[in-house]
Amino acid sequence: MLPDHAVALDTWSVISLWTAIAVYALAFIAYAVDLARRSEASVRMKDRRAELVAAGGGSALAEEPAGGDPAVPHNPVMARIGTTLTWIAFLLHLAAAVMRGIGAGRVPWSNMYEFAMMGTLLVTGVYLGVLFWKDLRYLGAFMTGLVTVLLGASSMFYVEITPLMDPLKSVWLVIHVFVASLATAFLALGFALSVLQLLQARRERRAVEDESLATKKSLLRTLPSAEALEGLAYRFAIVGFIFWTFTLIAGSIWAQDAWGRYWGFDTKEVWTFIIWVLYAGYIHARATRGWQGTRSAWLSIVGFVAVLFNFTIVNMFFEGLHAYSGLE
């Protein structure tokens, strides 16, 4: 039976969540302004370069540092505001999840609404955690944008707190879904970096063909080189892949207990498998001659599109045993 205060807590949870969505949107704006400023800064960098080139006579392209120029005259105040707002949104978001969990008397990830809330919470959490290690604030606009959209859409899935169905009463619910969300968070970062890698690679390629482009205004010029982005994307993807492998195994163990077989080609199982194979392909591609760089980046992108597809379309429209979205 549900705790007495379930309804009240759920109401506060919803309020907190909507506040979080609003703050995420603000964070997105701040980050977007920061990106625009980066683009501006790249023009000033051009001026500086031009001086350097005039003085040293070297080619502008050769001067460009591979790992982003620490001396780029870019004032990251908007990025700092963006990150602060993201932290505030994250804490509100966390509060929403915790209240929902206490209200329900169980972990808050057992229907589609709660999966969306939990998944995006972890996406933000991983992003904020990664910032301690590396300055990836240029991904901030993408991450907060993604979370705002997904959370906003999750309101479509809203359901009241109801008691768990029997098959969901399992420790594997706690483990399997949590790890899947964690994997998604890392794969999302890998995806964002792969997209940037593609854009960067295109710019670098063009710059070689047409030197005037090398100094053109572009925020990409303030970002690391395509090769560095690729390395980063790969590192996030392999962490995500390992969590995904774990999701697959934990899901099988649970299926063995709940449905009497560890694997039955249920739609959700199939898509989890497809995603796993796609990322195995991506990892291979990175080690295959002729597939490094742009080609492998596409695989990382396709992989993450499959992750999103699996969470949205497959949950809502495909038939299967994983009928736990809580939607009619």
Partner: protein, 559 residues
């Protein structure tokens, strides 16, 4: 780039072996295959075991798995296939011929994964052989010009004793888990160090475990069986082939594979969320309480619950479903009992409106069939039709429509016990007949049409129960449908899966690196060079070289 793969040093015997088109392999000259059979075979084998083929097959596998999530699959959802067929009668034969309803056992899907695994085995066998050798190999010679390496650092050490300096460096590296070798030449002393052989071991363990999983699944399936049976409260199921309502078994399951035990369903528990709460009417906490008796008569009590299968004699027993089994007694015109059974009714909705059939082939003038609806909590819709408002037994009502004629079971045609084929039968009550359906509460009896006899809906409430307390809640027996599953390979699949994860972690996170320290004496001191080379993805190598240089400097100063 400090973390890129490098072709600076030639592939040595200590390096992992790689397919020709791997980024770390030295490029092979593109050779035309020799126009002999062996030449062609060798060429074909090289293609099959290349990285590119593995990659393409992986992508193909992903794409080929998609249709199975779009079309219903016979394996997972046979009813869905039947439904699809009746919805698209024209398209069905075409898609069926393409095996789109059996994707995961189809010829094309099997071809892809079998090729992938042949490629995989062809890939890992030579690599394993090579790696076993590499595990015993010594770190390679120190390159002549360390300065060419990306991660390189030079320190001047005045007053340093070169011999001691190199010794200290070797000791430091050993302590960090490196395998070391001294190479002194041309007046300089050097130590060559390598670590991370486990990276390749992990990769091989991972890939080999995938083969292990496939083999375990394939072999295990031959010895596995899955059966379904229905047990009503108070009755006993004896584990033999005859007593299963359906049974799937692998080709190599022996006739006497079924363990001799019997299982009685003592009671079935379920709770319902009361009206007025969120999720009202939702059923849960199912528990089939059973007594298991082995061949020697030893008894033990246990329960089968969702997520908690019961493990007995190597079988795992699962709770698949449950329902009501109203006890129906039919008497002929003389009052003789000609039928007395608890009949499992199939639930039709979440409030347990249930449908069941009674077939009485003998004892009356004509064969009789009763098609019944059971409503645990009956209420009347505006249309006058009945429905159930709640899953528990609050106001149980049984309605029966009577058919007489030929049940169609005498010629041996298999018929489902849950459906009645009305062709060749005459309907006597309900529907268009103008006669009301028979409508019974527990304990009631009514006459059959045309004075053929009576039918009773037996009240199963135990004697001595206080009616004020239990009401109708125990008036109808429940049944469970159980699945008995036997598959000894599960544990192997799990073992290989865990090995695969461990291998993966090792392969992706243990860095494989070479470090060199070279001491070149001059005058009173020495120049000390530190250099590192990553083998495969290794973002931290530059830091490792720096840390070594710092530590070594401290070691030297410490005396």
């Amino acid at each position: 780039m400090s973390n890129s793969r490098s072709d600076l040093t030639q592939n040595s015997s200590a390096d992992p072996r790689r397919p020709d088109d791997h980024v770390d392999a030295s490029p092979q000259p593109v050779t035309q295959p020799k126009l002999s059979l062996v030449g062609w075979l060798r060429w074909a084998w090289r293609q099959l075991t290349s990285m590119r083929t593995a990659l393409v097959l992986l992508l193909l596998l992903a794409v080929a798995a998609i249709p199975g999530s779009i079309f219903p699959q016979r394996m997972a959802n046979p009813n869905g296939v039947t439904q699809w067929e009746s919805d698209n009668p024209d398209l069905f034969p075409v898609l069926d011929a393409l095996q789109l309803f059996d994707v995961y056992s189809s010829a094309w899907f099997s071809a892809i994964y079998l090729l992938l695994f042949v490629s995989l085995i062809g890939c890992i066998l030579p690599r394993t052989k090579h790696h076993l050798g590499a595990l015993r190999s010594r770190p390679p010679r120190t390159p002549a010009r360390l300065a060419r390496l990306a991660d390189h650092r030079v320190e001047e050490a005045e007053d340093a004793d070169p011999a001691r300096a190199i010794e200290l460096a070797e000791k430091r590296l050993k302590r960090q888990g490196y395998r070391t070798e001294r190479y002194d030449q041309g007046g300089s002393l050097s130590v060559s160090a390598e670590r991370g052989y486990l990276r390749e071991t992990g990769n091989l363990v991972f890939h080999a475990s995938l083969v292990g999983i496939l083999v375990a699944v394939g072999v295990g399936g031959q010895f596995a069986y899955t059966g379904q049976s229905v047990i009503t409260e108070g009755t006993t199921f004896v584990n033999s082939l005859l007593n299963y309502s359906s049974m799937n078994k692998g080709r190599l399951v022996a006739d006497d594979a079924l363990a001799p035990y019997a299982m009685t369903l003592d009671s079935f528990d379920v709770t319902y969320v009361p009206a007025g709460e969120n999720g009202a009417g939702q059923a849960g906490d199912f528990s089939a309480n059973v007594t298991v008796r082995d061949a020697s008569g030893e008894e033990s009590e246990d329960a089968v619950r969702v997520n908690h299968p019961l493990h007995v004699y190597g079988d795992a027993i699962y709770l698949l479903g449950n329902g009501y089994a109203p006890t129906i007694v039919v008497r002929d015109a003389d009052g003789e009992i000609i039928y007395n059974e608890s009949v499992p009714f199939l639930p039709q909705d979440s409030n347990m409106t249930s449908l069941g059939v009674v077939k009485i082939p003998d004892g009356l003038d004509e064969q009789m069939g009763l098609v019944g609806f059971f409503y645990p909590t009956q209420y009347e819709l505006a249309s006058g039709a009945f429905s159930s408002a709640y899953g528990d037994l609050v106001n149980p009502v049984l309605t029966l429509n009577v058919y007489v004629g030929d049940l169609g079971i005498d010629d041996g045609t298999p018929r489902s016990v849950y459906t009645l084929d009305p062709t060749g039968m005459e309907q006597l009550t309900g529907g268009e007949t103008g006669t009301d359906s028979i409508e019974l509460s527990p304990g009631e009896t009514m006459d059959l049409p045309n004075g053929q006899g009576t039918v009773e809906f037996v009240d199963e409430t135990p004697e001595g129960a206080d009616p004020a307390e239990v009401g109708y809640t125990e008036s109808v027996k429940r049944y469970v449908s159980l699945q008995v599953h036997h598959d000894a390979s599960t544990i192997w699949v799990l073992t290989f899966a865990i090995l695969a994860v461990l291998g993966l972690l090792t392969a992706l996170f243990i860095p494989r690196r070479r470090i060199w320290v070279k001491v070149t004496p001059h005058g009173s001191g020495a120049t000390i060079e530190y250099a590192g080379l990553a083998r495969g993805e290794d973002p931290a190598i530059a830091r490792a070289v720096d840390a070594l240089a710092d530590q070594h400097g401290r070691d030297l100063r410490a005396g």
